[in-house]
């Protein structure tokens, strides 16, 4: 690297504590202009906290931030922005009721003159330009609330890019993106780095990191383990530094398919775009749904969970026809859904860990008609141990858990609900590698006990490795169903993207 030059940013012995955790413990890192520095670590290792210290959101308790040799202190994110730091946060920071353009220019509206006020035309035009460089098609006037998670993520990225910056921090920018968008984003990042922009890139997808990063910094329990050039590291070494031991098999797939049928979906359609979809799932099977973002996978899941009404077709579970008019019906029938967007649709921040888990089946912790709080606590503890969730979350709000631990809490809720068919919508999004493997183990456990699983994932390697069969979805239709073993990543991608033959994704 350009280590002869002084670093653009130097972080010296940064420490930051939250109630009950030392999120950062004397972390020192340098970031050079024109490099892509990847920050990796388990859930809760302090990656986002470090990013937020640099973005002025958190104030470190000790340590120094040095910008081109000059120590700085940020009391507010604005001050970081003035120093050329642009940030894409892991949590969305969009205002749902405003338009795309308004969001992108939020807080720094372009003013034409005092008289005529805000220059909307100009902002709209600039938005279109930025969207174009990213090859994203959006109407700048569209209201953010109406966009999907992936689209919102793209807007979030656009927003950060629209600021003139020298350092771009990206906290899991691809967590909600499909493969095609991810590739576009990576090309763009590489281009920016070529132009001299420094990029701090946080991700749990190690394959991505090895594709784009110049150097890799590994955090563990708030401490900086090491920073090394990516070319001198092996993926397995990074994993070992992250979790402290070897993981062995990355995808510990077990095959538990039986001949008994669990779910039969017969020519269903919905108003949300599911179009004449049929498939069946065996007991113990992992049935993968592959496709691009927006292909209709989530909509199929929603139809099976009683969220969207069927306009045609029927669903049978264990041979019994079931009518689903709301999620309560689906849960009652034995179907569970781990939603894609865990913060908005999954977690209760006003509840601690146990209460988050038991909610799906409160009937089972009743004693003489009243909730048995001791049993509830024990249930929480059992699942926290089983899924290896940070135990402090048992007593405290789920808000304070890291992303991966939050995801595990939602999964635990459905394990507790004793659903027979579990739909996992992007279950490992934003989850660290150790936790991912635990999710895979959970899937194995479930299938071996006679549960069936529908797996929706944009991580193609994961989908191919963990599914027994894969249905490829496009435009709300199932194009083909084939055994996962007979599919390659290339085939999956080209069919899903509709680009059979040229396969550029």
């Amino acid at each position: 690297m350009k280590n002869t030059k002084p670093p653009l940013w130097e972080l010296r012995e940064i420490s930051k504590a939250f109630p009950g955790v030392q999120a950062l413990d004397k972390v020192s890192v340098s970031i050079f202009a024109g490099e892509i520095l990847a920050l990796v670590g388990e859930n809760g290792s302090g990656k986002s906290t470090l990013a937020k210290c640099l973005a002025g959101v958190h104030q470190p308790e000790s340590g120094e931030l040095i910008h081109q040799g000059e120590p700085v202190e940020f009391a507010h994110p604005f001050e970081a922005r003035e120093r050329g730091v642009a940030t894409i946060y892991q949590e969305f920071s969009l205002v749902p009721t405003l338009s795309v353009a308004e969001n992108i220019f939020l807080g720094r509206y372009v003013v034409k003159s005092k008289l005529t006020g805000i220059d909307w035309e100009m902002m709209r035009q600039q938005t279109s330009e930025i969207l174009n460089t990213l090859s994203i098609q959006f109407d700048p006037d569209e209201v953010v609330r109406d966009l999907s998670v992936a689209e919102q993520q793209l807007i979030e990225i656009t927003k950060a890019m629209s600021v003139d910056s020298t350092l771009l921090i990206m906290d899991e920018p691809t967590a909600a993106l499909g493969l095609a968008e991810t590739r576009q984003l990576h090309e763009l990042i590489l281009r920016l780095a070529d132009q001299g922009q420094a990029i701090l890139y946080i991700s749990h997808r190690l394959d991505e990191i090895f594709q784009i990063a110049d150097r890799i910094t590994v955090l563990k329990d708030g401490r900086c383990i090491d920073t090394q050039p990516a070319s001198s590291l092996e993926m397995m070494e990074v994993v070992r530094m992250m979790i402290g031991f070897d993981i062995g098999q990355h995808y510990p797939k077990e095959i538990n398919v039986t001949s008994e049928t669990c779910l039969e979906v017969d020519h269903i359609s919905t108003e949300t775009g599911v179009n004449d979809v049929s498939f069946d799932i065996k007991v113990g099977e992992v049935f993968g749904l592959g496709g691009m973002v927006g292909a209709g996978r989530t909509e199929i899941a929603n139809a099976l969970f009683g969220l969207d009404r069927l306009t045609e077709g029927s669903i049978k579970l264990y041979g019994e026809p079931i009518q689903l008019s709301n999620p309560a019906d689906a849960i009652h029938a034995g179907i569970g859904l781990v939603p894609e967007n865990r913060k908005e649709d999954g977690l209760f921040f006003n509840f601690n860990g146990s209460l988050n888990i038991t909610l799906s089946r409160l009937s089972s912790i009743l004693k003489w008609g009243f909730l048995n709080l001791t049993q509830e606590h024990q249930t929480g503890k059992y699942y926290f141990e089983k899924l290896n969730i940070t135990s402090s979350g048992l007593e405290r709000s789920a808000q304070f858990l890291s992303g991966g631990n939050q995801q595990k809490v939602v999964i635990a809720r459905w394990l507790f609900s004793q659903a027979k068919l579990l739909i996992f919508d992007e279950p490992t999004q934003g989850v660290d590698i150790g936790a991912k493997i635990e999710v895979y183990r959970v899937i194995n456990d479930l299938t071996s006990q006679g549960y069936s699983v529908i797996l929706i994932s944009s991580d193609y390697l994961e989908l191919l490795a963990m599914s027994d069969r894969i249905a490829i979805v496009r435009d709300g239709k199932i194009l083909q169903i084939s055994p996962a073993k007979e599919l390659t990543e290339y085939e999956l991608l080209s069919i899903a993207s509709g680009a059979e033959g040229n396969g550029n994704g």
Binding site: P327, I331, D345, N350, L355, L362
Partner: protein, 337 residues
């Protein structure tokens, strides 16, 4: 023991501290405060507001708001008067009927706001106007006095020397606390207020839950109304003006978040007691009514402010005195357990 400490640290500390400070300050300004007779008066005064505040708390927990309890209570007093005095229905049956009516009024609120999808602020602003209008309509605007000789007993009676309204209040608060903490519906109320979308996806009937909160609030308002008419043995369309605000104030001083999902009835009780004690103290010191209103406003800002700033204050204190960090209580954040 440990649990007890945690309990007090978390949710109740603020309102309880406010109450204790109010009691101390008032006892310093007048020696007529801490007399048995005065404390009995306070408990009689507080009972109607405190009971209506149970309803407000339930509704606020689901992230809704109910502006109608004052009007619903007024309508209750009028209907009770008409039933018992004009139509000669036996008093117990009359009370039963008005309580059922309260449930109905709450049902209307809940139905309009959750099934009709009209924001509860608007829906209950409308019913606030309608219920009082109805009270004027059926009484032709005149109060009805001397409803029944037995009615006053309900308010002025005592059990083992304790005024009955105080007992009703404690029983209802105990029931509400158990309902919220130990029943599925109570838990559903917290879930809906905490994250409506996640509650829906967890199989909770969101609309039904919000409706239930409104129904219970309607019942609470009718009980408060019954106590009002017992107190004066009369019914009037002018009773209960401002009751909804006092009840909401009690809940908010008790730390219930208008965003839903956090708060509890025990804190609301302290909130209601604080308001009553302060009003009583001001009365004893012969402070004019206008100043009393100003003081109530200031208490609301202070109580809610302290709750919001608690985290910051802790942080700043620990910075100033360089205490060990990481012990401060995160303000605002509360669990339902």
């Amino acid at each position: 023991m440990n649990n007890l400490v945690k309990f007090f640290r978390s949710a109740i500390a603020g309102p309880l501290a406010a109450l204790i400070i109010a009691v101390i300050l008032i006892s310093l300004t007048t020696d007529r405060f801490l007399t048995t007779q005065n404390l009995i008066n306070v408990s009689l005064q507080v009972s109607t507001v405190a009971i209506a505040a149970i309803g407000s708390t339930l509704v606020i927990l689901t992230a809704d708001i109910d502006l109608s309890p004052g009007s619903a209570a007024a309508l209750t007093t009028c209907v009770l008067a008409i039933l018992v005095k004009n139509m000669q229905i036996p008093l117990p049956l009359g009370i039963l009927l008005v309580l059922v009516m309260g449930i109905g009024l709450g049902f209307i609120n809940g139905f309009i706001s959750s099934y009709g999808r009209i924001p509860s602020f608007v829906a209950t602003l409308a019913t606030m106007s309608m219920y009082r209008g109805l009270a004027f309509l059926i009484t032709e605007g005149h109060p009805i006095f001397s409803i029944s000789p037995n009615l006053e007993q309900i308010f002025y009676g005592k059990l083992l020397g304790i005024p009955l309204p105080f007992i009703y209040m404690l029983v209802l608060y105990a029931a509400a606390a158990i309902f919220l903490r130990r029943t599925r519906s109570g838990r559903a109320i917290y879930a809906v207020g905490g994250n409506e979308s996640a509650a829906h996806l967890s199989g909770i009937h969101v609309k039904r839950t919000r409706l239930l909160a409104f129904i219970l609030a309607g019942l609470a308002a009718a009980i408060a109304g019954t106590l009002m008419s017992a107190r004066l043995n009369s019914g009037s369309p002018n009773y209960g003006v401002g009751l909804e605000l006092a009840a909401i104030a009690a809940a908010v001083i008790g730390g219930a978040s208008l965003a839903g999902g956090s708060g509890n009835v025990v804190s609301t009780l302290f909130g209601a007691l604080t308001v009553a004690v302060v009003q009583n103290g001001l009365n004893l010191n012969a402070v004019p009514a206008a100043w009393q209103n100003l003081t109530l406003g200031a208490i609301i800002v202070l109580a809610v402010g302290v709750d919001m700033w608690r985290g910051d204050i802790g942080k700043n204190l620990s910075r100033i005195f360089s205490f060990r960090k990481g012990d401060e209580n995160p303000g605002r954040q509360r669990t339902a357990s």
